[in-house]
Symmetry: C2
Subunit: 112 residues, 2 copies
DNA sequence: TAGATATATAACTTCTTAGTTATATGAAAG
DNA sequence: CTTTCATATAACTAAGAAGTTATATATCTA
């Protein structure tokens, strides 16, 4: 699994990481701030952050000894766009099927 | 990882499964039809389908010895909604920050 | 009923992941 | 400069995922 979309979706398939992303949607935060809500070790959080960063969903700043993370909303939106695309594809197919049925119906009428 | 959203995102983190979903967006298809585009074994496809079904993203029909799969678009849309929610959260925070800055600016003006 | 076709299941291998503890690095503050 | 605080990295373990081949099950067809 190498492609960018797979990386992002895999990153967001974990509830801890989704919670981190949701937290960062409210503004940037340090590693220790991000750790607080969860009952897991600091290295575990750092690992989660690395996964999110590798996926391009967050980025780091640096303020003294703190490395605040911030959300890359553009990347998040781009990921969500996949769902809309597929849903649109579905709607198009549905519309085409619908149109086809309509047409048949009209034929019936004209031949009546 | 037990929750429904995690299951769906994990299912879609795989490019083969996303391709299957995209194919099903165009209409239902049998296992053998779904297998064709990929260079992997039939059991591997059946496994992917099981993952998608367990996530609630597809469902089975039965026509003779064939078990056509179809997309559950509602479930797909619900999954995509998560991205919008977080993006909205971000926008709200942004707006609040913006309003705060505006307010400060006005104060400055009034005190000038 | 026998053989072919569509799909599922089992057993196994290899790789990845999420977590752990222990330790390193590097800036801040006394 | 030594201690403390924030974070990163390493080494390890346990569990899960994706693929394989071999085999089972069920329906259709001759």
């Amino acid at each position: 699994m190498e492609d960018s979309l797979s990386l992002k979706l895999a990153a967001l398939a974990d509830p801890t990481r989704r919670a981190i992303v949701a937290r960062l949607a409210r503004g940037e935060a340090s590693v220790s701030e991000l750790q607080k809500p969860f009952g897991i070790s600091q290295p575990a959080i750092s690992k989660h952050l690395k996964v999110l960063e590798r996926a391009g969903l967050i980025e780091q700043g640096r303020v003294g000894q703190s490395r605040p993370r911030r959300l890359r909303v553009d990347a998040l939106r781009a990921t969500g766009a996949w769902f809309d695309q597929v849903a649109d594809l579905w709607r198009d197919s549905f519309d085409r099927l619908d149109a086809l049925l309509m047409e048949t119906e009209n034929d019936d009428v004209e031949h009546r």
